[in-house]
């Protein structure tokens, strides 16, 4: 494919993504949602993008992303509450703290694989949860969460409602663009090789551990961006932000969307948040219904929503082959 074709394709792709992202505030109400739901979907979209780089590309399932989200939210929220309303300062410090934590956690947890790695990440996330609940409660608000956060300001203007939505849209588009650049880079190719055959890659001259740690750091960075945006948007940080069940929820979003596709988990986040909104208005048992929907995806569509076109192609392709076979047989009779 020529260089010009590749650039054109990318521009078209990002153009479509921008159109979908920036119009979400008006399209979500058309299907029974509310405008602010669009902002939440986009913020979660950034979080699941980060998870997909670690799980979908590199093949390391983490149950600790609540730690990145929660720490980012608490640090940003605390700064907005006590130090400054400058959104860039609050976000930059929050993201920097999360990135450092991601590096330290990555170096420790990535010495293990598979279930042991997953359990280690879960354990660290739980550690942060209990730290926020008790020892650090004067800073975090304990089980009340961090309340009364002041609205963030951008160049002297308060961000809320529509202005906050546009701010989040820009971050989402930037996050998607960077995630795609990572996936298509030589670094992204190495991550896919780690997922496919880590041992072979080591014998090909690659320091696999360093690549995995940086994937964890990038993933944490995205989580930090999402968490800080959440605090700025919500002006409240619940303690549940750090609970391991929150980590499980974003894994569910990614499975429904389709691991490894980047945009799939973002769609999954939209589906889960939309269903939570709609179902919770209909019945108190919405968790049960959401669970059944998740199980259905795992059983019937394990590749998520993004694998649907391929499945349909195979389904209709095989039916066409059967019909052709019948016609040929009749012609031969």
């Amino acid at each position: 494919m020529s260089k010009r074709n590749t650039i054109t394709k990318e521009i078209i792709y990002m153009g479509i993504a921008a159109a979908v992202i920036f119009s979400l505030r008006w399209t979500v109400p058309l299907i029974g949602g509310y405008p602010e739901l669009a902002t939440r979907i986009l913020i979660f979209g950034i979080l699941v993008l980060g998870l997909d780089i670690l799980v979908g590309l590199t093949g390391y399932l983490s149950f600790g992303h609540a730690a990145f989200w929660g720490v980012g939210a608490y640090v940003c929220g605390y700064i907005l509450l006590h130090l400054t309303q400058n959104v860039f300062v609050a976000m930059a410090i929050g993201i920097a703290v999360v990135t450092l934590i991601a590096f330290l956690l990555g170096v420790i947890t990535l010495r293990r694989h598979g279930i042991y790695f997953a359990i280690l990440t879960l354990a660290f996330a739980e550690m942060f949860y209990y730290l926020a609940l008790a020892p650090l409660q004067t800073w975090t608000g304990g089980d009340n969460g961090l309340t009364g956060i002041r609205r963030p300001e951008l160049f002297g203007t308060e961000l809320h409602g529509f202005s906050m939505y546009i701010f989040v849209c820009i971050w989402t588009l930037l996050a998607l663009y960077v995630a795609r650049r990572i996936k298509n880079s030589p670094y992204g190719l190495m991550l896919r090789a780690i997922k496919s055959n880590e041992t072979r890659l080591a014998y090909t001259g690659v320091n696999v551990f360093n690549y995995k740690v940086m994937a964890f750091v990038i993933s944490g960075f995205f989580g930090g961006v999402a968490g800080t945006l959440f605090a700025a948007y919500e002006t409240y940080v619940p303690t549940e932000s750090l609970h391991w069940t929150f980590s499980g929820e974003i894994v569910i979003m990614s499975v429904i969307g389709g691991f490894g596709t980047l945009v799939g988990p973002m769609i999954g986040a939209g589906i889960v948040l939309y269903l939570e909104n709609v179902l919770s208005a209909m019945t108190e048992q919405w968790h049960l219904i959401l669970g059944i929907i998740f199980m259905s995806f795992v059983i019937f569509l394990p590749g998520g929503v993004m694998s649907l076109p391929d499945k349909l192609r195979k389904l209709f392709g095989s039916k066409r082959d059967e019909a052709t076979g019948t016609v040929k047989q009749q012609a031969g009779d």
């Binding site: 880079s185 090789a193 496919s196 014998y203 090909t204 001259g205 320091n207 360093n210």
Partner: protein, 236 residues
């Protein structure tokens, strides 16, 4: 003790085969060269430098590349991507954080991958998923991945294991073609004596962890010690 008092010297540019009955210590020997195992005593030297204590990826960067007993490839990736990983590893070293590099900047690495695929006659399958390849083609792919790194020393661990007669003949032909390059040393562990005597210029025989014979294929064929170790003697 899998290997005991075994000494092996390999001449640059030659095809050297290590043979021996099951349990002789061949794979253990190979694993000590490649860095998977650390010897309790002794040295492993390559071009005058010790390899002891180095990680597998560091040993690879010194120019030593391994072909595994079962073809070790990246099944979910395309053939061209499989080999491009190898050429990028050669280009970028053990680690490079080029997470924003555009695809256009790796044209040279992709071209080198295409060259390696052409050498093993698999360029027509460049966009196939590696997991869909036949066993013989998976071996060819793995050879392309190794050749793409322009190794100084190629270690082949039973390259024809589990292959049909046709695939074995094709692999021998390919390895013979590679053998004409004087710039690459090959160490081949094999059970198939036809492969050994077709490819090897020098043979070392291991038995119960030690070297019992070392010499030209003719010397080994005629060695009574070797024939005794291989119950009932060897037939070519």
């Amino acid at each position: 003790m899998a290997v005991n008092n075994a000494e092996l010297t390999v001449e640059e540019g030659r095809a050297h085969s290590i043979i021996g009955p099951n349990g002789a210590g061949k794979s253990t020997f190979l694993n000590m060269i490649i860095g998977s195992l650390t010897p309790d005593n002794g040295t492993v030297t390559f071009n005058g430098q010790s390899l002891l204590g180095l990680n597998p990826h560091e040993i690879n960067q010194r120019g030593i590349v391994r072909v595994f007993q079962s073809p070790a490839i990246y099944p979910e990736m395309t053939v061209i991507d499989n080999v491009t990983v190898a050429t990028l590893a050669k280009r970028d070293g053990t680690f490079k954080f080029n997470f924003l590099e555009l695809p256009a900047r790796r044209r040279a690495a992709v071209a080198a991958a295409e060259e390696a695929l052409t050498e093993v006659e698999m360029i027509d399958k460049w966009d196939e998923e590696a997991k869909n390849l036949s066993y013989g083609n998976k071996r060819r792919l793995e050879l392309a991945m190794c050749l793409a790194q322009k190794p100084k020393l190629l270690l082949l661990d039973e390259p024809t294991a589990g292959m049909s007669q046709g695939d074995t003949a094709a692999t021998i032909e390919l390895l013979q073609k590679l053998g004409k390059r004087g710039d690459m040393t090959k160490v081949i562990i094999e059970h198939d004596m036809h492969v050994v005597f077709t490819l090897a210029e020098h043979i070392t025989v291991l038995h119960q962890g030690g070297v019992i014979a070392d010499g030209s294929p003719e010397d080994i064929k005629n060695s009574a010690t070797v024939q005794e170790a291989y119950l009932g003697g060897m037939d070519e």
